[in-house]
């Protein structure tokens, strides 16, 4: 189907040139799903562009992109026009942006059907409805007349898939199709591509930064690093026992819900000016020797395998599984010593953070109603403790973070940090002026968008020292304190004089953590601090955060949509769903024996290394998507829970103790039996 041979792409720009791809060789056979994996800057998207003949105009491509009998790089405009869509169709990464905002999605699909399948407009509309149904869009007839802005993220992604398949392409290219989607949806979307290969016989090229999530549906994977193919072979085997040190580093960098500790690889991917003469990974590789830094390893077959079966470009192939099974005893070294207190209301002693039955309602500007972001959340955090908060988008995580930081006032209930209130709350004294400014620095925040959280026109040094200004420290004192945190973050002094846009994501996040630490706060809130970073950089930052949260004189809150990152260093974890805490308890208990159906569903959809069973408890699969679940009077999950009863719909659920953890579901005692029964009757 598709056969790329020695494809190199050099991009000439006014100021510099970039070696985007170097000698890339791989093939996609008919009906095969091939994963193209690597970090950003590795050249994944450039491969996709080359396949549809849309290279940037400054690009100079050599080698061959053979598609059927023709070479895409040498097609004339007419042949290229015929090739795009019909030959290869891309399923774009950001579906909301890639759908035309002023045309109904039905017409956008019909356009493709009319163009590539020579249908009449009337027939195309009928076919569009069928396609919508096939990709799992509910009430497809109605959706045909919807505009893109009316669709949820998951729905838009389904439409995008239908658009790409509507071109009836020989090769379907999916560019990061699950970015920005919630975990419970990710698997379902990925299955669509497997389906396209198995049922329609299309070839699929699946581009992703996350090897773990796509390994399951791919036949083979190709790993890119700095524009070169470092390893290519059968998905299952590469996933379990990769041979190239980079592939192994990539896998080790991903946190795992099983609690396996993350191993960080130092350094970052180089941006190459010319085709590399030596192994591009050598500088970061623990196994590198002189050979690696003088010659570029050619792609060679693994011992006893054919080149097109499993090949890699490395002088020092590794073997054995990446992640040895983790024993429970080992696990405790990964997470810091359990805090002396478990966050129960019964525990005495001073609390760094106390949230008591807080509701937050965002009033809409016009008229009545509003968005109920938090519904009766209570949390308590002692010094030295780390609380993980997990949930999907829209569950109220960010509101909770803002609430703790005093950026949002509770509509009812109380919040206090170090015993004092940051916002005006009825019946409580509120500090003002300088006192308030000082109090604010007691709780610090690490943001999701590391670069965006730094003032664009202020130097880095200025940003880090900001909390010290409020404390009224002298310039010399500020300088000393800033120098100390810089050392802890392993940042060079020269960074102080730079501007945020000059930093890499990893550097910027270290700066963000430095700013949070510099005033020696009582509490640090990490709001998805690694979700905007590349995998290996993410591992480095997670290591830094693990170090910071281990400090015993400070409490931390770590907010994430990703269960696995939380497991690494949290003592306790709270699972948030539509503004309510549905389960809460010690981290190992919640992860190993989840109680609430929602927690079980979350854990079940999290991808894991080695494909071992997700957790001790049986898995739950939710029936609908988050956007479709409307919060009625009863249990928040009622609309999506497979075990829902009338009681669930009418009675609100409160946290009840079940063993060491607490969960808000009355059917928990009978849940295991229910799941078993469900599994028995397909």
């Amino acid at each position: 189907m598709l056969s790329i041979e020695n494809l190199s792409v050099l991009i000439h720009r006014a100021d510099r040139q970039v070696a985007a791809l170097t000698d890339v060789t791989f093939a996609v056979r008919p009906g095969e799903v091939v994963g193209l994996v690597g970090e950003s800057g590795g050249g994944k998207s450039m491969v996709a562009r080359a396949v549809v003949g849309l290279l940037p105009t400054g690009a100079q491509a050599t080698g061959q992109v053979r598609f059927g009998d023709a070479d895409v790089l040498r097609m004339d405009p007419a042949a290229l026009a015929a090739h795009r869509g019909r030959g290869a169709a891309i399923c774009f990464q950001n579906p909301r942006g890639a759908l035309s905002p002023t045309r109904t999605v039905g017409r956008q699909l019909s356009d493709r059907l009319v163009t590539h399948q020579e249908m009449s407009p009337r027939r195309a509309r009928e076919a569009a409805r069928e396609l919508f149904e096939a990709v799992g869009i509910r009430s497809p007839q109605r959706r045909l007349d919807a505009y893109p802005h009316e669709l949820s993220g998951g729905m838009a992604q389904r439409v995008m898939i239908s658009l790409a398949t509507g071109c009836a392409p020989g090769l379907l290219i999916a560019d990061e199709p699950t970015t920005g989607l919630d975990v419970t949806l990710t698997r379902e979307i990925l299955r669509q591509f497997r389906h396209a290969a198995d049922v329609d016989g299309r070839s699929v090229l699946l581009i992703s930064h996350d090897l773990a999530s796509i390994a399951e549906i791919c036949d083979r994977v190709v790993v890119l690093y700095a524009g070169t193919v470092v390893e290519a072979g059968p998905a299952g085997q590469i996933f379990a026992e990769p041979a190239h040190p980079y592939t192994r580093a990539l896998l080790r960098s991903v946190p795992d819900v099983g609690g396996r500790p993350v191993v960080a690889t130092p350094g970052a991917m180089p941006l190459l000016q010319r085709a590399p003469r030596h192994c591009p990974f050598a500088a970061r590789c623990a196994h590198a020797d002189d050979t690696c830094t003088t010659r570029r390893p050619p792609a060679t077959p693994m011992a006893g395998r054919r080149t097109d079966e499993w090949s890699l470009a490395c002088f020092h192939p590794q073997s054995g599984p990446v992640a040895p099974a983790v024993e429970p005893a080992e696990r405790s070294t990964a997470s810091p010593t359990p805090a002396p207190v478990a966050g129960d209301a019964a525990v005495p002693g001073p609390a760094v953070l106390e949230i008591d039955d807080v509701h937050v309602v965002y009033r809409s500007r016009f008229g009545s109603g509003g968005h109920h972001a938090l519904r009766g959340v209570s949390l308590r955090l002692a010094p030295g403790e780390t609380l993980g908060v997990v949930g999907e988008s829209g569950c109220g995580k960010s509101t909770l973070a803002k609430l703790i930081m005093g950026l949002v006032a509770p509509t009812s209930g109380t919040v206090s940090v170090a015993g004092q209130s940051l916002v005006r709350q009825p019946g409580r004294p509120t500090p003002r002026g300088r006192a308030l400014r000082r109090l604010r620095t007691r709780a610090q925040f690490v943001f999701q968008d590391p670069i965006g959280s730094l003032s664009p026109r202020r130097r880095v040094g200025d940003s880090i020292a900001e909390p010290l200004r409020a404390a009224g420290l002298s310039a010399a004192q500020r300088q000393a304190r800033v120098a100390a945190v810089l050392d802890r973050m392993e940042l060079d002094r020269s960074i102080l004089r730079r501007y945020p846009h000059e930093l890499s994501g990893g550097q910027a996040q270290r700066v963000g953590i430095a700013r949070a630490l510099v005033g020696e706060p009582d509490l640090i809130v990490f709001d998805e601090p690694t979700s905007a970073l590349d995998v290996t950089v993410q591992a480095q930052i997670l290591a830094v955060i693990a170090d910071v949260t281990a400090d015993t004189d400070r409490a931390s809150v770590f907010i994430s949509h990703d269960l696995a990152t939380v497991r690494g260093f949290a003592d306790r974890v709270a699972v948030l769903y539509l503004g309510r805490v549905v389960e809460e308890g010690p981290v190992d208990v919640v992860f190993d024996s989840p109680r609430h159906p929602y927690t079980r569903a979350l854990l079940a959809s999290a991808a894991r290394l080695g494909g071992e069973p997700t957790s001790g408890a049986a898995a739950v699969e939710l029936v609908r998507e988050l956007e479709e679940g409307d919060a009625a009077t009863g249990c928040a999950l009622a609309a999506r829970c497979p075990f829902v009863t009338d009681t669930c719909r009418s009675q609100p659920q409160h946290l009840q103790p079940y063993g060491a953890s607490r969960a808000a579901c009355w059917r928990i005692p009978e849940l295991d039996a229910l799941i078993g029964k469900q599994a028995a009757t397909p």
Binding site: R84, A89, T102, T115
Partner: protein
């Protein structure tokens, strides 16, 4: 039905703005230096004459009283009496508004069509020669003073070439045109007066051309930028990457997304055109609304200034309302 509710809601939102406009124009005129009575009576009038005249125009009343009278008049459609001519302001305005609307509507319509066609054409060949030409033209159009451009067109079209009539009037008096609407070309067509049609058209060419150049430039720039943004958008790229044919791309994916921005711009440009008309009418001695309002301003004729400024603001606000509605129809993302 929803669009109707949308219009009503917008109209209601306009009420405070319009009330503000009424108050502002009223106050603006009262604090103008210079005494309108003195300027019509001349230096020789006695104090008693002046007092009598003041009483006649109600200028001896306290300010709040004058405002209430004015407001009461407005509600009943009475704009008062011109201090200069003694005629009804409403009647004078009705005579003057036709010729001006004729100019502005023709010019803005031409400008809209030209700007859309050229702007999209230019964006599709961005950074090629034709595109650079268009951009240069837009820059020049943005920078050229209309009144001077008008003069230069007179110099060339009348003084040098002699192709167009002198800049004095809107139609040849010999054509015996019967006025109906005040817009001469329309009247000529309505009365099927052949000589008047050609004369009115000939008189219109230069002023309309002057206005078009000034109006088309900013529009052209925006349409080009808007089209370029669509062309560079992910959505358009995705459609192109799926191999849709050029015709479908142009009509289905480029045009509507580009034109979504046009209504608001057109409304803004309509305002510019009203401003420019004052200058253009002056250059071509076009006896329209602008000339009338300007004279009112120069002679401190309170009722005329009030009425003209109010009517301009009303027109402008209404045009914006229409633009909003058209935008809401074109752009599915607007919540109505």
């Amino acid at each position: 039905m929803r669009i109707f509710r949308f219009v009503v809601r917008r109209l209601l939102q306009l009420i405070p703005v319009l009330l503000g406009v009424v108050v502002l124009t009223f106050l603006l005129v009262r604090v103008l230096p210079g005494d309108p009575i003195r300027s019509i009576l001349g230096q020789n009038a006695t104090e008693a004459d002046a007092a009598a005249a003041r009483a006649r125009f109600g200028l001896d009343q306290p300010l709040w009283r004058q405002f209430l009278d004015y407001l009461g008049g407005l509600v009943t459609g009475d704009f008062g009496t011109s201090i200069q001519s003694g005629a009804s302001v409403g009647g004078e305005m009705a005579l003057r508004i036709g010729p001006t609307l004729e100019l502005v509507v023709i010019a803005v319509s031409i400008a809209l069509v030209v700007a859309t066609v050229l702007g999209v054409w230019s964006a599709r060949r961005a950074n090629r020669l034709g595109d650079h030409g268009i951009r240069l033209f837009a820059l020049v159009g943005n920078s050229i003073p209309e009144f001077w451009l008008g003069l230069m067109l007179v110099l060339l079209g009348y003084s040098v070439l002699g192709w167009f009539p002198a800049p004095s009037g809107r139609v040849d008096p010999d054509a015996n045109l019967t006025p109906i609407t005040g817009a001469d070309l329309v009247d000529a067509v309505l009365t099927a007066n052949g000589p008047a049609i050609s004369s009115a058209a000939a008189h219109l060419v230069l002023p309309v051309l002057t206005l078009v150049v000034g109006v088309v430039a900013p529009l052209l720039r925006s349409v080009r930028a808007s089209a370029l943004e669509v062309l560079n958008s992910e959505a358009y790229a995705a459609a192109a990457a799926h191999g849709l044919p050029p015709r479908t791309l142009l009509h289905g994916y480029l045009m509507r997304s580009t034109l979504v921005r046009l209504p608001a711009l057109a409304a803004l440009v309509f305002g510019t055109a009203i401003g420019s008309t004052v200058l253009v009418e002056y250059v071509y001695s076009w006896q329209g609304f602008g000339q009338w309002a300007l004279r009112g301003l120069l002679y401190r004729d309170y009722p005329v200034v009030q009425a003209s400024v109010l009517v301009i603001a009303l027109c402008y606000v209404l045009v914006f309302l229409i633009a909003d509605v058209v935008h809401a129809i074109l752009d599915p993302r607007v919540r109505i």
